[in-house]
């Protein structure tokens, strides 16, 4: 059995371009929501071998809620590292935490937490977290 809290998934492919900036030259906070989806999907693609098969099955993964807190500002050219961990793992849902670190400044830029829930689309009911997703997240629990 894996030790809880042992791993953090790091996604380091985020760089700030003009399109990410707002009127004042800072990253528009909306981008953190979009990057949250990239980070979680990169995590599942890398850590859950049959993720494509799961999403094509009748079991659907849905976002039930999301919270975002912004901290320090980021600007054009900054590199952002996203760190993903998991918490509140239950039978049909779990929460994904993504912390966005400004690499140059070494500061927390923003943090999101969203709840993923699994639904059997055939019966329209909540269903267990698929086995391979549960295995994939096991080592990343906070």
């Amino acid at each position: 059995m894996s030790e809880i809290g042992k791993k953090i998934f790091i996604f380091d492919k985020i760089r700030i371009f003009f399109k990410h900036t707002d009127y004042y030259g800072y990253v528009h906070p909306y981008n953190y929501c979009e990057w949250t989806s990239y980070v979680r999907e990169a995590f599942f693609s890398e850590n859950c071998g049959d993720f494509k098969k799961i999403i094509d099955s009748k079991v659907k993964m849905m976002t039930a809620k999301i919270q975002m807190d912004t901290h320090s500002d980021c600007s054009f050219g900054d590199l952002i590292e996203a760190k993903l961990t998991v918490t509140k793992v239950k039978r049909v849902s779990f929460d994904v935490i993504v912390k966005f670190i400004n690499v140059g400044l070494g500061e927390l830029a923003a943090e999101t937490q969203h709840t993923l829930v699994f639904v059997d689309s055939e019966f329209g009911q909540f269903t267990d977290i698929p086995k391979n997703i549960k295995l994939a997240i096991a080592d990343y629990q906070e």
Binding site: Y30, C33, S37, I55, M62, T63, A64, K65, I66, M68
Partner: protein, 149 residues
């Protein structure tokens, strides 16, 4: 500004879901609802966003959250009702109720907290009169509301 009920005033932003808003599961992807909150907030404040205001002030998002209640698909007409809450000095919250026009089905409940900063010093500033004029009429007491945002 549009008002929907006699007892409660709110700012309403309307959006029609486009195919480009949806993903391979045929539903609006979650990040797009967050984008709609920013669009609705911008629409609320657009009348005070003149060059002078923008050169002096910066409205910064502190936090944002959203609960999803129902999926939407391309062609759905969504009404985003916006109210203000917890207006205090330089900080205020906007609460968002997403409903499908016509059926009134609840799509989502959102909340954003903003702070007004001086662009020069990056320090908090009292809300401008022009902002108070927009926030005041749509202010609600959250403990009296049907939903928890």
């Amino acid at each position: 500004m549009e008002y929907f009920a006699h007892s409660q005033k709110e700012f309403v932003y309307k959006y029609v879901v486009m195919l480009s808003d949806t993903d391979q599961f045929e539903h609006t992807s979650f990040a797009n609802y967050l984008k709609l909150m920013f669009l609705a907030a911008d629409a609320l404040f657009v009348s005070c966003y003149d060059a002078k205001f923008l050169s002096v002030h910066r409205l910064k998002l502190v936090s944002s959250r959203l609960q999803f209640k129902k999926q939407t698909i391309a062609g759905n007409h969504i009404l985003i009702k916006v109210n203000s809450s917890q207006i205090d000095g330089s900080v205020f919250s906007l609460i968002f109720t997403f409903v499908i026009e016509g059926s009134g089905e609840l799509v989502g409940l959102g909340r954003q907290t903003y702070i007004l900063l001086s662009r020069r010093s990056n320090q908090p500033e009292y809300l401008s009169e022009s902002m108070k004029k927009l926030l005041g009429p749509i202010r609600v007491e959250e403990e009296n509301l049907l939903y928890k945002y």
